[in-house]
Every structure is written in C-alpha cells, then in structure tokens.
C-alpha cells in the first residue's frame, strides 16, 4: 500500500478549476516532486492534501484511509507536515520558539500545569529547546538559535520553516518551493538538506521550479498543467516525454 494515494482530486474556486481530477501515489521513503508552470495548481494540491482546503471532489488516502476533508491539525497528528511557498513564520516569537511550536502534538498541552510551572512540563520544555536548537543546526541555522524571527533574512526563514516542520517528526513532509528566492549557494544547500531529510527516512513531496534540483533529487515526478496531471514517472521518463517538453520544459529550455 502506498503511504499517500490521491484519487481523482478536484478543487474549484467559484468556477475556476485549480485542481482537476488529479491522481497519483507516493511510496514511503521516496522524494516525489510536483512540477508545473505558475498557476498549474501545485500549491492548491498541497493545500488539499494538508487539509488547508477542503476538496470539491476526490479522495486522499493516508495508509489506505480516506482523510479528505479532515482539518490540518488532525492530519498533523497522522504525520503530515509542510512548509509554505509564501513564508508563514510567527514574527511574534523568537526563531527557536518557531521550531518548538512544530513539536506541539508531542508535548503536554495542559493549561493548568502550564500556569503552575509543573516540573515535568518544564523539564520536557527544556529538552525540547535543545532538540529545537539541534534541528536548527541540522538545517544550517546553528548561528541563529537565539535570534528573533523578525530580524532574519528570507533565505534563513525558509529553512526555519523546514526545521519547524521537522520538529513534528513527520512521516511525510510537503515542501512548497523551498529554494524560491534563494541565491545559488543557498539553493545548493537546500538541495543537500532535502537529501539528508530523505536519508533520515522522511518521505518528501517537493514543489520546486529549480529543475536541476528536482531532476537530481527526485525518485518520481508529477507534472501538472492547468490543474491537471500531465505526466507522472521517473525523472528520465518525464524529461523525455513530448507533452512535458512542449508544455513546460520547452518554455524554459
């Protein structure tokens, strides 16, 4: 059974068919990329699978169970994590706290014990801070563990989001254009980071416009255009496919 199986998924925004009848399957342990021109529906697809949007139609199966229409927090409990194309950082918290909040579901969230500074809760929080700092080091932000979020650069915040998503210890991680807006050196670092995340056993679904990164990292690629699935296959199959060359790569190459 595939870890994630999407069956004829559709989303309409008042007549606009942002995602249309898309189906694909993601096996556990792979890097599965989603590519396509601007407006193809990649982010909408992520929003559907992570519960931010409710599908108009179709099924989303995690371990064979249909989870379409569940709330994001319920899906997080099933091991789904993600980052955002447009940054979603909590500027009212420091950098490390942004990562710590990623571990929300693994913590004691009782309000009374929190207000009373319950020893067990405080101890766990102290461990968590160390975990979060280690995660920041893992994504290459070791120098910024004490920084405020609102003083950090775009490229750093992109990686801070990845650290936050990892703090949840997800089974499947959705990365929406993690290299967008980064300089070439940062882009290479993020590519390496995705490779290390996958090596740790996290299934990665990646939306990215940087073709070099996509081709070198991916086990499989889904190509979307105008909300529809165009092709799905290995990087080699996708690269050679005439429709892809015409619809997408052709415009770039």
């Amino acid at each position: 059974m595939s870890l994630l199986e999407v069956v004829s998924l559709s989303k309409e925004f008042g007549g606009l068919k942002a995602v249309q009848d898309v189906g694909f399957a993601v096996e556990a342990g792979v890097v599965h990329s989603v590519i396509g021109p601007n407006g193809a529906g990649k982010t909408t697809l992520f929003n559907l699978i992570t519960g931010v949007y409710t599908p108009t139609q179709g099924e989303i199966r995690l371990d064979g169970v249909d989870v379409a229409g569940r709330r994001p927090d319920q899906l997080a409990a099933l091991g789904v994590a993600r980052t955002f194309q447009n940054l979603q950082i909590c500027m009212n918290m420091d950098a490390c706290e942004n990562v710590m909040v990623g571990a929300h579901l693994r913590l004691d969230r009782n309000v009374i014990r929190a207000a009373l500074r319950w020893p067990g809760l405080v101890r766990r929080d102290r461990e968590l801070r160390e975990e979060a700092e280690a995660l920041m080091a893992f994504v290459g932000l070791g120098d910024h563990v004490h920084a405020r979020a609102d003083g950090l650069s775009y490229g750093i915040l992109k990686r801070l989001e990845i650290a936050r998503a990892l703090a949840a210890r997800p089974r499947i991680l959705f990365l929406d254009e993690p290299a967008a807006g980064l300089n070439p050196r940062e882009t290479i670092e993020v590519g390496e980071l995705v490779r290390r995340i996958a090596a740790d056993g996290v299934t990665v679904v990646l939306v990215e416009h940087d073709m070099k990164m996509v081709m070198s990292l991916s086990d499989r690629i889904l190509v979307m255009d105008y909300g529809r699935k165009l092709v799905e296959g290995t990087p080699d199959e996708v690269r050679r496919h005439p429709d892809v060359v015409a619809a997408y790569l052709g415009k770039h190459a």
Binding site: A76, V80, M93, M100, H104, L105, A168
Partner: protein, 313 residues
C-alpha cells in the same frame, strides 16, 4: 533563559512595590487607589492574553466583570449563598457564557469579532439594568460582606493584601503560561494561523480556551470589586468600562505581562492625578492616550524594553 531572568526580576520588583505600598501610603485614598489598580491589572492581564498574545479582540469584557460582581451581590442576598461560593459561581458563569458564545464568535474575524463581543457586553448590561427585582436595576444593590474562615473581610487593608496576592499569582501564572506548549500555540495562532494549524494546533479550541480564561479572570475580579466596594451597579458592565480596560492593554503594551500592570497603574491613577485640572481632565486624559499611540505605538513596556536592548548592543 534570559527572558526568564527578566521576568523574575520584574516579578520581584512588583512584589516589592506591593509589599511597600501599605506602609508608605499617606492615607486611605491611596490605598483605595492601589486596590482598584490591582483589580484592573488582573483583568487587563487576562485581556492581554486574549488580545496581545492570542491576537483576538473583546469589546465586551466589562460584561464579564458585571456578571461576576452581580453574582456576588445577588446569590448571597436572594439565595443565601456563601460569598465564596457566589464568587466561584460568578467566575464560572462568566467562563460558561464565554464558552457558549465563543464558538460562533470565533468563526468571525476582524471587526465582526469586535461587533459580536460588543453585543455580548451590551446584552449583559441590559439584563442587569432590566431585572430590577433581582439586581436593583440601574441603581444597583448592596453586597453582603465576604467571610473567610468565619472572619468578615471588610477593611481596606484586608482587601489590599487579597488583591495584591491575586495580582502576584496572576503575573506568575501568566508568565508561566506564555512560556509553555499551550502558550506557544496561543501565540503561534496569532503569528500565523495557518502555520499553527498545520503543526497540529486546533486553533478554534485555543481561541475559545483563552477567551474563557480571560472571561473568568474578569468575572472573579468583578466579584472582588463587589465585595470590596460593598455595592454594585450596572455601570460596571458599561461599554465605557470595556474600552478603559482595552486602553490599559494598548497603552501598557500588547503581549506584555508587565505592560498590562503598567497600563493599569497609569490609567487608573491618571484620572485621579488629573482631577486637579478641574473640567479639563477628560481632555488631558485623551491627549495622553493620543500621544501614547503616536510615540509608543507598541505600548509603553515593549517600546522601552526594545530601546534598552538596542542600547546594550
């Protein structure tokens, strides 16, 4: 960790001030002012959790104060309840009312949320004014004395220490809460609601929880006010009172625990200090608020803290 040290230093300073005031206050006028400041500070702390930390709004918090205050007046007078039981009931009733209306209210956003809480406050106010056979109507009613362990709590000194203790405990608990998994989730849904949701925060539940908590703070302090003053009137639940509390949050500093205390101190004491201006006090009061908003848009304590931090670097 440095945050924690700053917090503890702040708590120590407030403790010292609370401990000294009764010995240096020249007369009962100042003790009375201190008690009312303390009561406001606790309410403002709860309101700041909701507004400053969780990023929601309430224009009806005076309604919860009125509910708590009238529970302490009505239940012992008409039903013979023990004042402590009435106090607990008042706080619980405020929390329950908040819980019942919270779900539909938090589906709304922005100014709709403001309108809904405004309406809630107005309804409580109207009920208190109209149910004259129970509440004394617009004139209000006297409140039986609080008895603790068989002793009547009636003197200003007694109430001073009770309010002081409540204030210190509230500050301590708020500081703890903010720096906990619950508190981070509450702040995160303010920072980015969608980010909070995808890491597993059930945002509606958290908003409701914070709203209920701050309503219970308000209800409890309404009871304390009732017993301390010995009399309640529906004016406690007026919209103007809600706005005063909001102003304390904003002037002291959103999302700042000590800002809440400073805001309460300034805006409770200010009208008294301005009273010498004979007729111009409202103008002066307004001018202070406008100047605060222009020069300290983040509130007093956060602005000063940021300035201090910058100088240290």
């Amino acid at each position: 960790m440095t945050n924690r040290i700053t917090s503890l230093v702040g708590l120590a300073i407030v403790t010292a001030v609370v401990a000294i005031i009764p010995f240096v206050a020249p007369n009962s006028f100042y003790l009375d002012l201190a008690i009312r400041t303390g009561i406001n500070a606790v309410v403002v702390l709860g309101l700041n959790l909701l507004i400053g930390f969780a990023g929601q709004i309430s224009l009806g918090h005076a309604g919860f104060i009125g509910l708590g205050a009238f529970a302490s007046a009505v239940l012992p007078t008409h039903f013979g309840w023990h004042p402590l039981a009435a106090m607990a009931a008042g706080s619980l009733a405020a929390g329950a009312l908040a819980a019942v209306v919270a779900r539909p209210i938090f589906r709304l956003r922005g100014h709709y949320l403001a309108m809904a809480t405004l309406g809630l406050g107005i309804i409580v106010n109207i009920v208190l004014r109209n149910e004259a056979q129970w509440t004394g109507g617009p004139d209000g009613m006297p409140v039986p004395a609080m008895t603790l362990f068989g002793i009547d709590v009636v003197s200003d000194r007694q109430w001073y220490w009770i309010v002081g203790a409540l204030l210190l405990v509230s500050i301590w608990a708020s500081l703890n809460l903010i720096d906990s998994p619950f508190g981070r989730a509450m702040r995160a849904l303010h920072g980015s609601e969608v980010a909070a949701r995808v890491v597993g925060v059930d945002v509606t539940r958290y908003k409701v929880a914070v709203f209920v908590m701050s309503a219970m703070f308000a209800g409890l302090m309404g009871s304390v006010t009732a017993h301390y003053v010995g009399f309640v009137s529906p004016a406690l639940a007026d919209f103007g009172h809600s706005v005063e509390l909001l102003t304390m949050v904003v002037v002291g500093g959103m999302a700042s625990v000590f800002g809440s205390v400073v805001g309460a101190v300034l805006l409770t004491a200010l009208p008294q200090l301005l009273a010498t201006l004979e007729g111009w006090e409202t103008v002066a009061y307004g001018a202070v608020l406008v100047l605060c908003m222009i020069f300290l848009p983040k509130g007093l304590v956060p602005t000063l803290a940021a300035r201090f931090e910058r100088r240290r670097r």
